[in-house]
């Protein structure tokens, strides 16, 4: 292994102005199995690849419901992802208790990003949280009197892991007053809003697929989004067979609370889409005309090739 003088802790800058620990944390996201998300005006779909650690074990959950209107898909250290999704859940519950309305997605994402930042700061000398009962993330009373729930809560929630950045990337899908949203939260504390995005190992293939198609997503129906999610997931598998046991799909949208589709439903969708992919380019052209026709010769061919390759999956 090569050694680096500037990477032993998060507070040390390299002369080039980089924080290596943070970059390593972002590397951890790339090592995790893939997760993708895409959204239309009304719906957001999350999907992920399930990989078991060994033949003898089950896989770990990578998609979590945060609230009726928000869910996350994670890639990287699952343990960190769980901690963060628990934090998000409690923020949503507290907001709901105080205001009887759903927490705006964008705000939750900012609070989440601030947590990543706080972790870095906590590595410094004096930025430890103060004056709160350990293990109690929220005391309603204090919120009512200080009226600063956003600001008190994340200070309280700092964990034992305060010496390192979180090693997890989160795709946050949610619906609020201003519509459907998809955000990516990075261990660096940065966050971005996306139309469609993919993270984790071999996510580049899914990104390429999504980049080719994303312009049509805005007007897509729920089912079209799920279909594109499954296609994007398949890209990351690189030849491996796409079945409901290797992927999880979740949806949130107008009139539909965040829910993880059950395995049978996903398998049915996979079967259905494989059929239409094989037999009916005419059928599909209605939904995909822009993507298929205007996409240029090369990508269309690539898409067609992969579609045919997977056709035998239909059993």
């Amino acid at each position: 292994m090569f050694r680096n003088q500037y990477d032993t802790d998060v507070t040390t800058w390299s002369p080039a102005g980089r924080l290596f620990q943070v970059e390593y944390a972002m590397e951890a996201v790339k090592q995790g199995s893939a997760a993708i998300g895409l959204r239309s005006k009304t719906h957001v779909v999350l999907a992920c690849v399930n990989k078991a650690n060994s033949e003898l074990s089950s896989h770990q959950r990578k998609i979590f419901k945060v609230d009726d209107h928000i869910g996350v898909a994670i890639a990287g250290l699952t343990a960190d992802g769980r901690v963060l999704s628990r934090y998000m859940r409690s923020e949503c519950i507290n907001y709901g208790y105080t205001y009887e309305s759903p927490l705006p997605v964008g705000r939750l994402v900012v609070q989440l990003a601030d947590k990543a930042q706080l972790n870095h700061k906590a590595c410094g000398v004096a930025a430890r949280p103060v004056g709160n009962v350990d293990g109690i993330p929220f005391t309603p009373g204090s919120t009512f009197l200080t009226l600063k729930s956003h600001f008190t809560c994340w200070q309280v929630c700092t964990q034992r892991s305060w010496k390192r950045p979180y090693g997890v990337g989160l795709l946050v899908a949610g619906l609020d007053e201003s519509g459907a949203h998809l955000y990516y939260n990075c261990p660096s504390g940065n966050y971005f809003e996306y139309q469609a995005f993919a993270i984790g190992s071999r996510s580049q293939a899914a990104k390429t697929y999504l980049e080719r198609k994303f312009e049509n997503f805005t007007g897509s129906s729920r089912d079209e989004l799920i279909k594109d999610a499954l296609f994007a997931i398949r890209e990351t598998l690189q030849g491996e067979k796409l079945t409901s046991s290797v992927c999880t799909v979740a949806v949130v949208g107008v009139g539909e609370a965040f829910n993880i589709l059950d395995q049978a439903t996903v398998q049915a969708l996979i079967n259905e889409f494989e059929i239409s992919g094989e037999e009916g380019p005419a059928n599909e052209s209605v939904a995909e005309e822009a993507g298929g026709d205007a996409g240029g010769a090369a990508p269309t061919e690539a898409g067609a090739a992969t579609e045919q390759e997977t056709a035998p999956m239909d059993i």
Binding site: Y99, R107, F144, E177
Partner: protein, 280 residues
């Protein structure tokens, strides 16, 4: 008797507490060389038993405002409140504004302790400020403000330190009209028309009779004035100087203070106690 008392005291704290039941003052009992823990108990009981002690709670309101009335109408919400501030039964202040704007979409009316209302407005100012500081296009609507106030009121009552108010919250957001009320102990509800205090008895019956979903602005104001006039006649704390506030999708306006026309020459007003035996 003294020996009896010291015997009692040697037994337990419970029996020392029981001395109060004998009608003895704490001074008298102190003379009987009470042990330390019993002394502490006396101190605790002093503040619990005496009507005031050194309590930091609001035990009763000082300057109060009387009824607030709110109704939904065709385009939004209308609210009315007079401007009196009573110090006990003396109408001490004559231009207290009890209708206030909260954020972009909400209107708050308060009866009860005026200083507590000012405290509530301070909370809300901070709440709205922090909400605006997100600068993300989201904003708290009347429903959120109502629920927030419910939590504040209930939380304070659970500390036995209530904010001594009945509040009416109205507003319009995203085309949705909202009107609700919270009491000083956290009782909260939504309705098409709400009133606090005396208004519950004198205004709500009128509103139940005459309120309609499609009330125009003019009709709404007329209805509120009818209610306010009734309150003026029968509620001794009411004063003839009131404000009416309107909130719609377009925004909020609070009227300048004005007076209602009254007619006091009804026979019943001329000699109100005639035939009421025992009154003067």
């Amino acid at each position: 008797m003294p020996s009896c008392l010291s015997w009692l005291q040697n037994r337990s704290l419970v029996s020392t507490a029981g001395l109060y039941a004998f009608g003895l003052s704490s001074d008298a009992i102190n003379l009987l060389s009470v042990n330390q823990s019993a002394k502490a108990l006396f101190q605790a009981m002093d503040s619990l038993l005496s009507p005031e002690g050194d309590s930091q709670r609001t035990q009763y309101p000082y300057v109060t405002g009387t009824s607030v009335i709110g109704i939904k109408y065709k385009d939004g919400i209308l609210m009315a409140a007079d401007m009196g501030g009573s110090y006990g039964s003396t109408i001490r202040y004559k231009s207290v504004e009890r209708l206030k704007q909260v954020g972009k979409h909400s209107l708050l009316g308060a009866s009860g302790e005026i200083s507590d209302f000012q405290e509530i407005l301070k909370y809300l100012d901070e709440l709205i400020l922090h909400d605006n500081m997100w600068d993300d296009g989201n904003s708290l609507g009347p429903k959120e403000v109502h629920n927030y106030l419910t939590r504040v009121m209930y939380n304070r009552r659970n500390k036995f330190d209530p904010l001594w108010n009945s509040l009416v919250i109205g507003g319009v957001k995203n085309g949705q009209k909202y009107l609700g009320s919270v009491s000083m102990i956290g009782v909260h509800f939504e309705d098409d028309h709400v009133a606090t205090g005396f208004g519950n008895h004198l205004a709500r019956p009128i509103l139940r009779e005459e309120w309609r979903e499609d009330l125009s602005f003019e009709e709404g104001v007329k209805l509120l004035e009818k209610c306010m006039r009734n309150l003026l006649y029968r509620d001794r704390s009411a004063v003839n100087k009131l404000q009416i506030a309107k909130i719609t999708e377009e925004g909020l306006t609070i009227s300048q203070p004005y007076s209602l026309k009254t007619f006091w020459n009804f026979a019943a007003f001329q000699n109100p106690t005639v035939g009421a035996e025992g009154s003067w």
